[in-house]
Amino acid sequence: MLKIRRSAWLLVVAAVCWLLLLFSTISQGQPVLGLPANWPRWLVLLAQGSFAASIFMYARLQPDALRGHGFVAVLRLLFWRGLILTAGLVAVWAVERLTAAQSLPLPGNLTLAVGYTINLGLFILLLSLTLYSWRSLVQFRGSGKIRREWLAFELLLGAALLLQLFVWQIPDFLYVGVILGLGLFGVYLSGHQRWIAYLSQGQKLQVIMLQLGVLSFMLLFLVYLRGAQANSALLAPPTQQAFLVLASFFAVFYAVAGLLVSFFNLPIADVYEQRRAEILSLQQLSQIIQRGQTAPEIYQALFTSAVQTIRADAAYLDAQLQPTELVGPTPPPLAHELTLADLNTLRTQLTPLITKEQNELIDNDLSRSQRFTDLSKPYCSAAVLPLRSATHDYGVLVLLKEELGGFDPEDLSILHTFTTQTVLSLENLQLAQEARVSQRAQDELRIAALVQERLIPKHLPTDNWFEISTYAQAAKEVGGDFYDFLHLPGQRLAVLIGDVSGKGVTAAFHTAQMKGIFHALMQPNPLAKKDRDRYPDPHRFMVLANEALTHCLERSSFITASFYLIDYEAGGFSFARAGHCHTLYYHSIKEEVSYFQSEGLGLGILRDASYGRHVKNQFWDYNPGDVMVIYTDGIPEARNGEGDEYGEARLAQMLEQCFYQSAEEINQYIRQDVLEFSKGLPLHDDQTLLVIKFKAAQPQP
């Protein structure tokens, strides 16, 4: 807001000063509209100086012309504005000529005076516009130093204005000195033509034309002003010589300097354009990579960029991707201006070359080296670049030129940048694919872990005659341990624990199978005569499970399991052990901890009817306060840093210390001890620990 108001004020000041100037010029030599004739010289100079100063200040406050526009646009805008101002000049001049010819009855030099003042105003406007367009160009990509120098230049110009305002009787030597000094400063500033380097050939031509236009506008104004001041009919007050001379000198000199620089830059413009094309190609190449595109697109981008940038007459790119790589099949070879026959000739002749010459090959005189002589066109230069990373070959790029000495070190360096970038992007692509695949595998595994988690019984059976506590931890995402409970009619409970040989996903599959077998076998048999026979006893359970597993377990796999059928009414349980860890038991009457010693072969080892002879049904009568600890081998085989195993002896010791506690407390006590034993080590095997404590029956609530 403040800025707008300030610039508006500047315009008002400029308008007032211009009117003052107009009236003073008209009333020179004669009184007009009741105003006195021959105004004091200082007033005229003040009006003139203030007008110039406010116009320049106004132009200075305008936003940088370069912001958001190109150099040509800046010059074009200046040209059009200059053209309008010059059109004004020509119009006023024409009116002057007409009135002079018609000899209209107008007082004295009225037309001349008005015309002169208008044109002086237009000229100052043109000067200010030009000067501040040049400012943008001078300061383009300039350091702080050039900005300070420009400010100094502006201040000195302002000083020149003031100098003439207040000390109008300047001695000649001072006047000449100031003009010379400031002029040299202007010449120095005119050396800042950095922007021209950024123009293409066509743009340079445009710039030259536009600058010629601007120069001719200024020349027209200068011719007019000189003529008007020499005109004896015009009784104009003197102009602000020093300021205007300096400003127009700088404006003209900068334009001429720029023109010359552009002109002499024309022949080498294509070099710059080529460099720019290289940079653009490189940018394109990296953009394609960032968008994560496919291998064929990357190869295509490299090929197009290389052919265009190097201006090859013919080229081909043989892509090569290992079938094991995840980026996809090898894309077909790319060719540019090559016949199929040529392509085959090249391929056969190149193969030995590439293995022999480890790195790139540049041959700038093919006829002498007798290479690639059987091609349909007489190519004289060839560049062969393998696309190679430390571990992989991604193919080979071949460029051909008809001229001798077609490839220079510059070309080679840019081609190197291209190929390096391509190899990098192909490797990135592969890494990204690998990451995606392994991510998917991990996701699948996580889902498998979730599924297995759901297989573990969440709701432990509760009753008033026992307590159960469970703990299970897989060594990997999924494990080979399993356990399950099933409440049977009457006060009976079936408990199954087991361990599939091996670890990980394969083992996890079999745990699911085992759970299915458990629930299938524990369906009540409707044909059973006696209630006791409704469910299989442990021995029969193992025999049936072994038979079922025969069909779904690979030969080298087996399962260990223990099955317990606890009957509260009888106050005892029957059980069978199929190669599983011995059950640890606390006998409350004998106050003794011991392992059940029993024989039993693992499931899936013998796959015929003889299995029944290798597993036994056993019975045990329990007392309230007895504790049964059921576990998998991950517990006694837990290892410490020295490689020692936790062992069954220590497990038994633990139970001796905590048998009187609740099932949950006993479980935690043992678990804590195992954890302390194998402190800081990852789990060696899956661990499962079930604690069942028998209690005296409470009356049913």
Binding site: S501, R555, S556, F558, H582, L601
Partner: protein
Amino acid sequence: MEPIMKVTAQPTDTTLTLILDGELDASSAVVLDTELNKPELLKYKKVLIDCQRLSYISSAGLGVFISHLQRLQDSNVKLVFYNMQEKVFNVFEILGLDSLMTIVPTEQEAQAV
């Protein structure tokens, strides 16, 4: 990973002795499996496994013997283990394999089987 077990085969006319040295787990089981898979194994009367330097056996290791058990029985080749460390024997025993396979204390007894 390098297998942490070495298998040395010592054939005679009727007997093949395999000397196991190290830990028999999932990675080293492959070595033993290759050895037991050889077709010429079936021409022997006996395959003796010297377990003196076998310090550990995992379920995958047991799986190798289990998977060849039936084949050897069908061809009337006896599989005899001897010199077994107590820790390793416990693993065989818990799984119930001692009732299925011949495990004897010394080489003399193994030869006599």
